[in-house]
Amino acid sequence: MVVKNFQLTLKHAIHGIEVTRLYPEVLMDLPAAERGIHQLDVRTCIGCGACVRICPNDCIEMVTYKYGNPLKNKKMKFPQIDYGRCMFCGLCVDDCPTECLTMTKDFQIAGWNRDDIILGPDDIAVGKYSDEEAAKLAEEARIAAEEKKKKKAAAAKAKKAKAEAAKKGDEGSGEKKE
């Protein structure tokens, strides 16, 4: 008989089992593992481009961004993600060597234009430096780079000198042989 069906319906009605989700007022409880919009720690990203290479859909592009850490990321290139193509597979996150790229619970990304859903480093960054900090870091990086350059130059000089010395020696020995 069909009476049973109505019993079940009634049971559902009486026990008030929640079916409808009150989105967008009430969001679902999402787990920590959720793969939503990315988050980039600009303090630690080294600009290696591993995320760009692994992405199956080619959504990541490296762009210049100034509030990162020039001590780690010399060219100051950071990933920009095109969410029109991203399928939230998480491969980029798995491949990031410094674990600076992670995925968050945020998933709401609708926009009016296609450009709205291309998120640059500024949109997904955490740990952005302020202007002063950035300037200070840039200065530090410049000094570091200069020092390195000096060192390199010195090393090159030393090497050259050495090579010359060796050459001389060679010539000397060559002469001797003759």
Binding site: M1, V2, K4, N5, L8, T9, H12, I17, V19, L30, P31, A32, A33, E34, R35, I54, C55, P56, M87, F88, C89, G90, L91, D94, M103
Partner: protein, 570 residues
């Protein structure tokens, strides 16, 4: 029990010299390259003498370096023994032709049509070599050959040709256009064949017959496909199926992705079975790399695959029962509630609700989170209670009985002949389950029953699914009790490069036998991935099943197969 070695020696003594090369990979895998002239006799011998009554599919491989095409026929048995024989036939690339197996195995038809349209390999004595998945414009350009330049690119690099028509509007055409053909700039090698429409019109015999179209877009179909029924009054005299409306060319895409990048692509074949698709793909890679998955990872995979089976069956059954709509209630919403809970359990591990991209060669992506066991146990308890309730409900419902019992009956012999697998096959008294036949992961350590029914009708198919939900809950609970600690990922190189060779790996998808045939040449991209999906086989079996049914029952029959067009078209 027959092993691959026994089959090989039987073959060698029956056909001396016809087995050109062979490899016994394991007790249940036999690879052999056979004489192309003898392939039909060999298959007949295997079918009649060695119980290879299950034709599982065929794959084409383009060996461009050797100027060869290879067709691999995959044969197995419905439970008599676990051996899978993969017989390779080679054919020259300039005039490719292989003997058709359609006389021996009815269901070879579609597999051969697919290989023909994609590679241009002719099948001698095939009853109707028409395109199956491709659009007519692409037939003749043989897109899965390795030297195919991308579509349409014959001469230019453009994807579509922009033509400004006399009114000033732009029209987009896939090359070659008529003008190009006339000018002779594009070689026209399109084969001649009657279109799908013409073929069905040709079969109209009397005035009282007519063609009724269901689809390609229709409220009752689970994705776009066209089901045309030749009806006489209320009876279906013949059914025609046209697929390929969402053909994505996933097999070709996978050839252009590294192995890791391929994993998210396999999700997209069927989102309800994303985890088992991942499993099949990664399993095939693991076979080639010869790596053993850590035990904990194996348990995690089993747990998730079973949870995914539960959610797939819940959605499939719920959707189907609301489609037939004749019953006084629709359990769709109830089943969706249960499904949501199950999906949330999966999501807490994988981080996604449908496309999981979770399994990796040699392990899994994440470990189980804290509290997963409790959460899953409580969800499973609800699922089991509710499923039992539904079963009772259906039993007591006379309208349900009238609508479903004795409808679309598949006898065991017929089901095997048509090549269906999964719940529809098990509902026809053939307890054939990959988890038993071709055990992978930790399934041999688990205690579970293979559900089957004797009747073979629509009702039995739904019952099998409902019982499988309960059985899967049982499996997950065992896994939660037994799961050991330890690593979840075996050490694999960062760049995955499997050893050159071939592998065939089967898993029990929620819908049946999902097999991945993988050919590797030692680089980081596969040479060929053939997806042997379960729904492809169901779809092929649908027209004979619908013959003679009432129009009103068509949905009750077709829907009870729990189809997924996305996976047919791949």
């Amino acid at each position: 029990m027959t092993t691959a070695n026994d089959v090989l020696s039987a073959l060698q003594s029956a056909f001396p010299g016809a087995i050109q090369e062979f490899r016994v990979e394991a007790d249940n895998r036999l690879w052999a390259t056979v004489d192309p002239n003898k392939i039909v006799e060999i298959c007949e011998f295997l079918r009649d003498e060695q119980d290879f009554d299950h034709y599982s599919g065929a794959a084409g491989v383009d060996k461009i370096d050797e100027a060869l095409f290879e067709v691999t026929e995959i044969l197995a048995s419905h439970g008599a023994h676990p051996v899978v024989a993969l017989l390779k036939v080679k054919t020259p690339r300039d005039a490719p032709s292989v003997k058709s197996l359609t006389d021996l195995f009815w269901n070879a038809n579609w597999y051969e049509r697919e290989i023909w349209e994609m590679f241009g390999i002719n099948f001698e004595d095939h009853p109707g070599l028409y395109p199956l998945l491709l659009v007519d414009e692409l037939v003749g350009s043989w897109p899965w050959r390795k030297d195919f330049k991308g579509y349409p690119d014959y001469n230019t690099n453009e994807r579509v040709l922009e033509i400004i028509n006399p009114d000033g509007y732009a029209e987009y055409k896939i090359s070659p256009t008529e003008a190009e053909i006339e000018a002779g700039t594009v070689p026209e090698t399109r084969p001649e064949y009657p279109t799908f429409r013409e073929r069905e019109i040709m079969e109209l015999e009397t005035e009282s017959e007519m063609i009724l179209h269901l689809g390609p877009q229709h409220a009752i179909v689970p994705g776009p496909f066209m089901l045309d029924l030749k009806v006489d009054g209320e009876r279906v005299k013949k059914a025609y199926l046209d697929v390929g409306y969402i053909h994505k060319g996933i097999e070709k895409i996978l050839e252009n992705r590294t192995y890791i990048q391929g994993i998210p692509i396999t999700d997209r074949m069927c989102y309800l079975a994303a985890l088992s698709n991942n499993e099949a793909f990664c399993g095939a890679i693991e076979r080639l790399m010869e790596i053993e998955v850590p035990e904990r990872a194996q348990y995690i995979r089993v747990i998730l695959e079973e949870l995914s089976r539960i959610q797939s069956h819940l959605l499939g059954t719920g959707e189907f029962l609301s489609l037939i709509g004749g019953v006084t209630y629709s359990p769709f919403q109830w089943m969706i509630i249960d499904r949501e809970e199950t999906v949330s359990c999966i999501e807490s591990v994988t981080g996604a609700r449908i496309t999981h991209s979770f399994i990796r060669p040699g392990g899994v992506r994440n470990d189980l989170p804290d509290g997963f066991a409790e959460m899953t146990r409580s969800a499973l308890k609800t699922v089991v209670d509710k499923t039992n309730e539904y079963k009772e409900l259906f039993l007591s419902d006379s309208m349900y009985e009238m609508r479903m019992a004795g409808i679309g009956v598949l006898s065991p012999e017929e089901a095997r002949r048509l090549g269906v697998s999964g719940p529809p096959l098990r509902a026809s008294d053939t307890p054939y389950d990959m988890r038993r036949e071709d055990p992978i992961l930790v399934y041999p350590d688990l205690d579970f029953d293979v559900i089957s029914r004797k009747e073979g009708d629509s009702k039995a198919r739904v019952e099998v699914r409902l019982d499988e939900i309960i059985e899967s809950c049982h499996i997950v609970e065992q896994c939660l009790d037994q799961i050991p600690g330890g690593p979840i990922q075996e050490k694999v190189p960062k760049k995955i490069k499997p050893n050159p060779g071939e592998a065939y790996y089967r898993v029990e998808d929620p819908r049946g036998e999902m097999g991945i045939f993988l050919v590797s040449d030692g680089t980081d991209k596969p040479v060929k991935v053939k997806v042997r999906g379960p729904v492809f086989a169901y779809f092929q079996a649908l027209p004979p099943l619908l013959e003679g049914a009432y129009v009103a029952d068509v949905v009750a029959i077709a829907g009870s197969m729990d189809a997924c067009t996305s996976e047919v078209d791949r």
